[in-house]
Symmetry: C2
DNA sequence: TATAACCTTGACGTTAAGGTTAAGGATGGG
DNA sequence: CCCATCCTTAACCTTAACGTCAAGGTTATA
């Protein structure tokens, strides 16, 4: 079974990004589709799910493309480390620290988010009560 | 007891923003410190906590200053609505919808965040195991 | 009263993340 | 073979969120 590839226009539709953004992401080395002999970009399904993950990080979490790249790079080195079933303990410890730092960062964001959410939920409750008294 | 006011430099230190950013936020009408006769900005403690909230929204959640402004404006109109103990039911219903929309948006972000966090936690666990086997 | 250390408003520069337009090659159908 | 419809790179434009002077007013201190 050979792989299916998509041209840029189709990928744009599938991911909700523009063609310009897809090309820009390639410049940033966030995705690297293969090319036809004529130079056309060909995206695999893996490329597309990668792009969707990037989109989620960008849209939902407001990460910059640079920090997204760092995050993806980190995940790749982690994969490498984990694939070799025994590696340098020093490298592993460093990676653990890195990952813990990321998790901590995310936890902070989670707290900030839930604060904002709580605030809105309090107001929502008050509004609903007010509406009931009005009717 | 009269209020305490701070000049811009001190506010910059207290909030971790630059003076330029503070002036820019005033241009954006995110904060409006009072002025001395000579035109110096004077920030109150309330101004400072407002600025800290803005910072949190910007840093942790990646909101644009525009959407932060919209959010703050919404909260102000909500306060007004809630202060008048009976208002126009139509207005109230609209506000409820607005708030529900915001909460939904935040929930989406929360899910996205926890997905990313989970991914990292799985990797972290694997790394810790790998380290133990190495030692 | 002079001088340093604040503050002010411009005004132009910068970076990220694309939008837009131009000029030209590839490809598929009639 | 030709035309429409894809694709390519290159180059310049745009917006947000400031950074960075520059020129000048204010205030505290020696």
């Amino acid at each position: 079974m050979d792989l299916i590839y998509y041209q840029i226009e189709e990928v744009a539709q599938k991911t909700g990004l523009t063609k310009r953004a897809l090309r820009y992401y390639e410049d940033m080395k966030l995705v690297t589709p293969i090319r036809t002999d004529a130079g056309y970009r060909l995206y695999s399904d893996d490329d597309i799910s990668e792009i969707l993950r990037i989109r989620e990080l960008r849209d939902s979490l407001g990460f910059s493309l640079n920090s997204i790249k760092e995050s993806l790079d980190l995940q790749n080195t982690l994969k490498e480390i984990l694939s070799q079933s025994n590696g340098d303990p020093i490298v592993i410890k460093k990676s653990i620290e890195e990952v813990e730092k990321q998790i901590k960062l995310i936890s902070e964001k989670e707290i900030a988010l839930s604060n904002v959410k709580n605030k809105y939920e309090v107001v929502l409750k008050q509004l609903v009560e007010l509406l009931q008294r009005c009717e």
